[in-house]
Assembly symmetry: C2
DNA sequence: CCGGTTTCTTGATCCAGATCAACGAACAGC
DNA sequence: GCTGTTCGTTGATCTGGATCAAGAAACCGG
């Protein structure tokens, strides 16, 4: 892959940070990996051994509560990061599952290298910090919205925010992500598309 | 206040980081401030000018959606940090409100100083990073639980996690935090305490 | 191209919790 | 200590969405 247009570099630049000529060096800390549809990158109870940057494919992150109900927390598509940083960093058991929904090609980075790049590349530490802040803000918003908004509102918001996601992920998984039943989602769509 | 037992120092140590003899220097970047019950530290639409560490009192962070409904997102009691880092850092309008629920005594830090201490005190940068990771994990869990769990389950969890909070905050605010109506909360408590 | 599995739709029923309304209880300010 | 206001309880009613059940469609692998 031509370094100049590597997806990870594009992502870094688009967030307003510039690795200058260090990108190739930086990239050497990441290891490519492939996962087949259905494979797990991480299971609840394990310690996360790496986090990933998605080159192609789609992952779902979900957890299973005491009653055995699955709850999808988010979908990572191309150019998203995914994993359990907390678990990887502190070597504690994760309570997340990370599964490939399609055949996936990713870059992985382990604990050692993650710590090295943080020290070695200040622009990366900055990007990480900014990314966390953005993500925390988004999560907080989501907490509020998930409690207040109706199922329909949540669906419409998702449709607006991530229209492509709805094309590639089965409907019952979208329902789980929205925190509603598949039947409810089916009815919402029927209602929306018949008027 | 005797530096050795400053609440902020205690908090830092309890998270496994050691400022050594730098704490006094570090502390000089924070400015004490007082807020009266009901006062706002930050309003939706403003750019956050500082973030805070709570010495005494209790704050609520909430947002108001398009329909004018208030949603409490969290309560910051003693030894909690609060504020909108994203807004402060990027100088963008916040969509959070931060209000004193009691007379509060806090330490504030502004953008400039926040950036300085990050550069100057590596242990602080580490603590910040770890804190963010922990907080993101907690928020993700909360997103999942808020969608799946019944009102009663959520109340019991809060009762277990933050028993003292329920003593000091009016019930209708707890209800808002849990995403249920005050009436519903009243009924849940009645049911729990009559059996 | 066929039989099996997985996903989506539709209908019927049920219930947690919202909403509306009205009344006690606690509390703050004078 | 009285009085207005904010807060909590209780009752009655309504509804969004869950759950259960059973077809219909789509999507395989051989």
């Amino acid at each position: 892959m031509e370094t100049k247009q590597h997806p990870l570099l594009i992502q870094i630049l688009s967030r307003g940070f510039d690795p200058g000529n260090e990108f190739e060096d930086f990239l050497s800390f990441w290891k490519p990996a492939e996962f087949k549809k259905g494979e797990h990158l991480l299971r609840q109870g394990e310690v996360a051994r790496f986090t990933v940057f998605v080159l192609s494919g789609c992952l779902r992150q979900y957890s299973v509560n005491e009653n055995g109900q699955e709850q999808i927390i988010y979908f990572a598509e191309e150019n998203w990061f995914a994993g359990d940083l907390q678990s990887m960093r502190s070597r504690v058991a994760s309570n997340l599952n990370l599964q490939a929904l399609e055949n996936c090609s990713v870059l992985t980075i382990n604990k050692t290298n993650a710590e090295l790049v943080l020290e070695r590349f200040p622009w990366w530490a900055q990007l990480q910090l900014a990314g966390h802040q953005r993500w925390m803000a988004k999560l907080q918003q989501q907490v509020g919205q998930s409690m207040i908004d109706s199922a329909e509102t949540k669906y419409l918001r998702l449709l607006k925010d991530r229209p492509k996601l709805l094309q590639r992920v089965p409907q019952y998984q979208i329902a789980s992500f929205l925190g509603i039943s598949p039947e409810a989602l089916s009815r919402i769509r029927k209602k929306l598309y018949t008027f």
